[in-house]
């Protein structure tokens, strides 16, 4: 039987420090952007009293959704007993914890009063899904830390499966909670539907797989290892499955909204005459995020490695556009305060489609967040043994997953 051993990330030290320095610089830019926003006030951002959540929230929600999703690989190994993914599971949990911390950091640094984090951690309104999410997010970080421990330490390895099942359950609830942040907003046509929770779950499954694959490709290039074709084929199948699931739930979400007559005008706005928001939906969320990747993956014109690579890049771009549509377009459509009247005049922009132009500071915070996730991954990989190396047994070469080329 093959033996899996785990190793640290071995790369050229110069290259390591270059990547570390670059990511560190971007993290600093993120903190500097946040500091400027907090010091001057949010008027320096593109966010207003109309669009109250902007680019930082797109980054933060996306990172949290990805965090839940990248745990797929570990779940497949621990919960669903897929031996194929066993060597890849610890990396999956490291990515999950890194993306979670980064998403939370952005969310906190965008608060009007980040200095009151202690208030958020000690004063709770349990009717608020946001308060529950604070528990779900911080709890998830603790569960993931425990999960990583059970996977890396041989003495507690026997607990890996129950902890894995617990983490799997936790993340499903967590993504339900994230989707419900929007789903529980009764006043806005774009939200106010429970279907956002399962939509967020399938989005997390999809984005998690592609982000895992993209990072695996990069890590393997730097670590001078190759990803076995069996893993690529399996990830490809998963991606296709999640793409169809995403398309289905997206279709169902819009169909539901079209069926509710008071939401119909919002649907017309998103699907037909919403300008940049309509373009973001059709071109970004649907074509780039779902249809093109499906074509790449199903036509078999490229080898699986490249078709999955290109699809993953498209899905990642589409994921960003999806969040833009969900978060920004949902707020851009004005509130229907008077269903039987049109608002002719308002000093508070009640009668117009709200526009949003993010500032450089919001972008800096978002990029800084991504860099924070990646630097945590880099530090984790360099200091702990997350990467698998498979020692082949003489009798059995079939179960080879990730093999070293050197």
């Amino acid at each position: 039987m093959d033996k899996i051993i785990f190793t640290k990330f071995i790369i050229n030290p110069k290259l390591f420090w270059f990547i570390f320095g670059l990511l560190g610089f971007l993290v600093l830019i993120g903190f500097a952007s946040s500091h400027h926003m907090e010091n001057e006030g949010h008027y320096v951002t593109g966010m207003t009293n109309q669009i109250v959540w902007g680019l930082p929230h797109i980054f933060a929600v996306l990172l949290i959704v990805i965090s839940s999703g990248v745990l797929n690989i570990a779940s497949l190994s621990s919960v669903f007993n897929k031996e194929l993914y066993k060597p890849l599971a610890p990396l999956s949990s490291l990515l999950a914890i890194a993306f979670l911390i980064a998403g939370l950091a952005i969310l906190v640094l965008d608060l009007g009063r980040p200095d009151r984090l202690i208030v958020a951690m000690t004063t709770y309104n349990f009717k608020s899904i946001f308060a529950w999410n604070i528990f779900l997010y911080t709890g998830f970080a603790v569960v993931l830390a425990g999960y990583i421990w059970t996977m890396l330490d041989h003495e507690v390895k026997k607990y890996s499966k129950p902890v894995g099942i617990f983490a799997f359950t936790w993340r499903i609830i967590l993504t339900t909670g994230t989707g419900s942040i929007f789903g529980f907003l009764v006043a806005r046509e774009a939200y106010a539907t429970a279907i956002l929770a399962p939509l967020f779950i399938v989005m997390s499954l999809l984005y998690g797989v592609v982000v895992y694959y993209l990072l695996l490709v990069i890590i393997n290039k730097l670590h001078k290892t190759i990803i076995e074709s069996e893993v690529i084929e399996n990830l490809k199948k998963l991606t296709v499955m999640f793409l169809f699931a995403n398309l289905y739930f997206l279709f169902l979400y819009h169909l539901t909204n079209m069926y509710i007559s008071k939401h119909l005008e919002f649907e017309i706005f998103i699907l037909l005459n919403g300008g940049v928001y309509t373009t973001a939906f059709w071109l970004g969320q649907v074509l780039i995020g779902i249809i093109f990747p499906l074509i790449f993956l199903l036509t078999n014109r490229m080898c699986s490695y490249f078709s999955l690579l290109i699809s993953s890049l498209f899905i990642l771009l589409g994921s960003f556009m999806s969040m833009f549509v969900i978060i920004i377009a949902g707020q851009a459509y004005p509130l229907t305060i008077f269903p039987d009247h049109t608002i002719v005049e308002s000093s508070f922009y009640d009668n117009v489609i709200h526009s949003y132009a993010p500032s450089i500071y919001e972008l800096g915070l978002g990029i800084g967040g991504i860099a924070l996730a990646l630097i945590i991954v880099l530090i984790g990989l360099a200091n702990l043994k997350f990467l698998p190396k498979i020692i082949q047994s003489k009798n059995n070469n079939k179960n080879l997953k990730t093999s070293s080329v050197d």
Partner: protein
Amino acid sequence: MKNKHTISRRNFLVKSIAALSVIYVVPDIFSNASAVTKPPNIEVSSKTRWGMSIDVDKCVDGCTSCIDACADENGLYGFDRPETDSQWIRKLTLKDIKTEKITVLPMLCQHCENPPCCDVCPTGASFRRVDGIVMVNQHTCIGCRYCMLACPFKARSFVHENLTEQLTNSPRGKGCVESCNFCVNKIDNGSDSTACEEACMKEGHNAISFGDLNDPKSRVSIAISKKPNRRLRADLKLKQTVTYSGF
């Protein structure tokens, strides 16, 4: 010979006590007589339920006295950035889709009995007092703006920049969310009126009637009894205590 203008010690004491009584006691009696509200030293009670009725037939196009009074009362000065400046009360001009009738009305926090802003607030900084006032605790608001997303009436503003010279009766600060609080400081000091209502009355329009909904003699109760009122977005069943009549 005895001086007629001298005053005995007894007379001096009696007259002094009488004068002090006039100075200290009478105003208290009158103020209590004019306001049905609680004295400042008594806790907020659910026996009072503050509410407002707005008669849009009386609201005058072009008049901004309620907005100006609110700004003066709460120190709401802008930075000439209308997208980010706070607005606790605003005027809207509406056109009926069927009849094309034009209506002008003030829009402010509707002080819902089931306020979505309070439901979603993670720290409970948005809260509803037992007397029906919905407000933000400026000490525990973390500035997440989730309440602004949840409010169906766009009644809340986020303070986007540094403030100076805030009024002591209206604590405000950068990074927190704020909205109309029915001039809570006035109410807690014994008044039964808001700045916007007073200004509207002063202009002679009387479009805004404020008071205790539990008191049938209050201005708001009388206004509601005279003319049918309706709640905005009644389909949401938020049971707002701000109601509108005349449209």
